[in-house]
Amino acid sequence: MLTVSGLSKTYANGVRALDDVSLEVPRGMFGLLGPNGAGKSSLMRTIATLQAPDAGSIHLDDIDALGDTDRLRRTLGYLPQEFGAYPRTSPLVMLDHIAALKGIGPRAARRDLVEKLLAQTNLWDARNKNIDTFSGGMRQRFGIAQALIGDPKLIIVDEPTAGLDPAERRRFHNLLARIGEEVVVILSTHIVEDVADLCPRMAIMGNGRILIAGSPDELTRRLEGRLWRKVIELAEAAEWRASMPVVSTRLMAGRLEVRLVAELPPRDDLEPAAPSLEDVYFATLLEHGLGSDV
């Protein structure tokens, strides 16, 4: 169980990246949703010991992550949002190096681990290629392989699916899903489907705060009976947005589907809609004044 409480961080330029963030993350996959700039990465980096907060505490079971960074790092697997590799270096060499830094030994065992990880992440055939030349999906699989080294109890995966094509995303999801349920996995993303597909528990962040947390099912259920839809002409969009609690709009064959949240339908011509996690996401943002023209 990862416990985050009262975490705050204000950057030198005045941006309040984390604003009294408290969170309880049990074992298993935990999705962290939020728009760009919501503070997801700040939170992830802080948990990953790469950034000190101004206030608050983080504990992984009995480890004080802020006080005893060393102990946390020994049990941490971290896949940063953006990462590279030394130039002209193969995943075999790079993984072996990271394993060595993590303190995995002796050499033969380390080598064995690296080769098995490469096989498991479908990188075996590319093991001697330059990481520079990898596609986005290969790169992310390499990233998860390195995060898995050292049998971590806490795995942090920051925006892993950004820029992946659907097939690669699927492959990546499968990989993530296989990671044991024994450990805490935090997955930050701004893609709702990632969370919907993978995570039994989740939270939505905005403006440096946790806006809502729970299981996707439970959160979706809360919208049941309150979500309405209608397909309109494009030209009407502005008028609708100005006068109605529009959660989201979506183009449908040249026309626009609008979705609204209300206890009772504000107009007669609306039909009830089945809520999805995406609706929860947009509704939550809208509720906190963070809605945008979607």
Binding site: R45, L76, A100, G103, P106, A109, A126
Partner: protein
Amino acid sequence: MWQIFSFECRYQLRSPLFLAVAAVFFLLGFLATASESVQVGGVGDNLNLNAADAIVRIQYTLSVIGMFAAVAFVAGAITRDFELRTAEIFFATGMGERDYLFGRFLGGWLFATLAIGAGLIGTLTGTLMPWLDPERIGPFEAAPYAYSVFAVVVPNAFVVCALFFSVAALTRSMMAAYVAALGFMVVGVVLMAATDPEQLEWLVLTDPFGTSAYELVTRYWTVYDRNFRIPEFSGSLLLNRLIWGGAALLVLVLTASRFRFAPGRTSRSSRLRWPRRPAPGAAPTSSSTWPVLTPADGWRVQAARLWSQLRMDVRGVVRSVPFYVLLAFGMFNVLGGFFGAISQAFGTPVLPVTGMMIRVMEGSFMFVVLIIIIYYSGELVHRERQHRVADIVDAAPHPSGITVLAKVGALWFVISALLLVVMATSMAVQAFNGYFEFEPGLYLVSLFGVIGFWFYLLAILAVLVQVVAPGKFAGMLGFLLLVLGLQTLPSLGFEHNLYLFSGPNAPYSAMNGYGHFVEPLLNFSAYWLCFSVLLLIAAHLLFPRGAVGGWRDRLATARSRFVPGLRAATGAVTVVFALLGAWIYYNTNVVNEYRTEDDLERTRADYEKNYKAFARLPLPDVSDLDLHIELYPAQRRLESRGSALLENTREVPIDELHFSLAPHLTVNAIDLPGATRVAADERLGYYRYRLDEPLAPGTSRTLSWDLTWANAGFVNGGSSTRLVGNGTFVDNSEVMPLPGYDYGRELTDNNVRRDYELGPVERLPKLGDPSWLDVSQFLVSGRSDFRATVGTAADQIAVAPGYLQREWTEGDRRYFEYAMDAPIWPFVSFSSARYAVARDRWNDVALEVYYHPAHRYNVDAMLHASRRSLDYFTMEFSPYQYRQFRILEFPGYQSFAQSFPNTIPYSEAIGFIADLRDPENIDYVFYVTAHELAHQWWGHQVAGANMQGATLIVETLAQYSALMVQEREFGPHKMRRFLKYELDNYLRSRGGELIEELPLVKVESQGYVHYRKGSLAMYALKDYLGEAAVNRALRGFLERYAFAPPPFPTSLDLIAAFRAEATPEQQQMITDLFEKIVLFDLKTTAVSAQPVADGFEVTLTVEARKVEADGAGQETEVPLDYLLDVGIFPAAGADATGTDLPEPLLLEKHRIVSGENVLTFTVPDRPAQAGIDPYVKMIDRNPDDNLLRL
């Protein structure tokens, strides 16, 4: 194009790069003139601070440094769009490729020029500063600034900008442009090493900056010229600029024709490719999991981490192009130094003995190592961030110290690779020169220990600076400033190695090894090693992981990393560091006196201020000298006991006796019976005694002494290399009280003298000063009997002038007793070393060479030269006055030979390792030996009165004597080559004159006048008067003055002897050679040949000019009316070697007057070349135009 240009200009104007670079160059230019501590290009001490030459040279230097700034401007201008991926936007606008290219180029070039040009404004501002010595500021002249702009700054900026811009445009890589810039530096360094005047003419054309061309054109410039003249923009200067300007333009045009917007066409192809292991191989047996391995602990794990990180970093280094560029650069750098050092004198090589190679390395590649440390410390420490690996590895559980150690290790790897390359280069040079006595052990100790040690420690310092710095470039700049600061401190009077991150200079000598330098070296090394361990700990504590917070956060992190074990280690190292520091301080500042250069100067100034007043007190002569010297080589201790019989040879009674004592001597006792000590200045070494009863003329008194020269502990710097473990060479002035005031201690640089409120230096009394006619240049009026007993270590031989009377051993000491059977000047030496001895005879004179056993090479050549010299001198001048002649090798800390009675100490660095295997080369061992042996006549038989011109008698005649023996041995061809070097040396050295150049008759111990010009003048004199007449004059001179009592001869007496042998027409020539500074400008402007009945009629047109120069080198034309050589030569035969001319068809003296002379001759064979003064007997700055080919 203009649109892009103005876009570029706006960008540059706003960019901090332009302002920063301009500020740096302004500052460099400013400090170059405004501060004495900063040397940029170098204002000679003898020049005005705003000398034209200084201003131009500073700009040349700045424009070479500016090359790297230029890369940033122009290469940045072209690669920026590719790096920021904005290129497509520009290209999509449909702009022409050429417009884009030239627009960017012009903008980059303009701002590079402006930024580098800021240096010129800095220079100008610097010369206006109120604190400068007004004596050294000449009137303002615009010409040097104009020259700097149009001949230096703008064209150099154009050349480098065009070339680097092209490289960057075609490769789209900033790195490639920097590599090209480094290549340029290599060219510059190699050129700097080239000194052969024959090759310089075309070599200078290959210098992209034109610096060498400027050097060539101004090499013979005098002080006056350097202060006020600007070279004509013609000849090699203009040609060099045209070639490089043209090349740059061409490259630019070619680039424009090849450059395409479409990416990838011209780039990437040059990238290094590495072979890959084949991919196939079975995947591990698929189970759906992987082994559970958790981070472990223990030293093995830490070692594995370190090894892995080190391997990654070293991999990164060896796979980068700059690594190889820097290695090549380092190689070329020492290569230039090696070849420069090997062709030591007169174009003759020295044997590339390891000791000499090491001396070259000591000086030459510090610069490359600094570049390496600066560049790679930045690259390595910021490598993870740069390649975005940082977030992954920073979250790994390894201690930061592992990363720090790996970075330091990788940097050490690069330094070691460079040292190995340098060592291999050195050995290759040795082998190339046919020298196979490799000493790998010595290389390892010197290169990796003595020299390399500091590089390894600097690497640690650089890593710490990078760890602390906010960014890579800030770190590089910070470290550079730190190093420059440390280098500048000594010139500000902060010279102690306890804070300079350095150890004492430790010169190597084959004879003495590292000698007594080992102890301070080890102490300082250990001291700074401890300090560096503390730096490593600091780097571990401060190494950034993840986001770098403010300093409060970093210090908090550092505190948490400062675990008890580390605290204890830090404490222990700090204690050792402090103890070593205290021990060093005790040695350098308590046991010994710590004195800076300024302190030493002040001591000399104080000595002069306090005691110059007594300089003209009547002095007694030493008429009997009896010394007992006890040498303890291992302790570098010397005990001097002895007595001198002081005889009043003046006509007045002496009532006060003063003595000067070398300041390193401790007085145990000085005893002068019947006298009272009235003052004793131990600091300056000056003692005054009042005689109870004045010493009447003709009477004498015995002075006896007991002195110690103890070298206890070790010193911070300036350790004496005279009294050493093996190869001691000291003279009497270092071991006994010298009567009277010691003129030798006066400061000779008038600029320095002004700082101490001393008037201009008086190097010697004026020629003809009657009060000095009775004092010889040995500062005595008569000769002295001499006896000495020298004790030394049992395995050494000690030698003093005189003949060995007795040799015995007492315990572990060996004693030698020497006595001279006739009086000598009281000017003696004491040498002691583990010598091997070679013996020979010439008639009944015993010849002996005492040499370091490894230096057998040229001992026979020395003996041979001695025999030949004795042949000539005894036949042509007078008998040799001794029964013995000895040469004694001493360590190469200094390189000269010096002639004492029957005894010549001779440096290991000059003759003993000369490479005489090629008989075509000038045998300068023969020359030096003959010259020193000639001093037994010129100096020991006859010495001049102590005044201007004295060295005409002693040194110039020794040069002449050596020339004549050489001519007899090797023939006139060799002499012409020898004299060409003398001419070049003389003309070059004039520009370095500190006070004023004097004609030979008034020479004030100026080497370039009495040796170099002396050789030329005497050879010309011999050419006109004939060898017989000159030698007749010298014989007469010796007959009259050899061993004669005062008054002593002056240069006027010698010249009078020459004049007596000369015809009336030759008198003017003697005046020009000896009494004036005269230069010729002789030139053949046209030659034609017509076949006639009995051969060919040759018509020559000769332009001639004669000028007279004053002491500063300002020239006035004077009428010429001379007999000068005219020569007509056939085509060179197949056997002609080098630059030697074939046997002439005609060589005769002809009357030549100022202006144009047309001469006609008939010769029997077809002529190939003809001209005036073909053998360059006259002093002519441009001897190459004397001859013209038909």
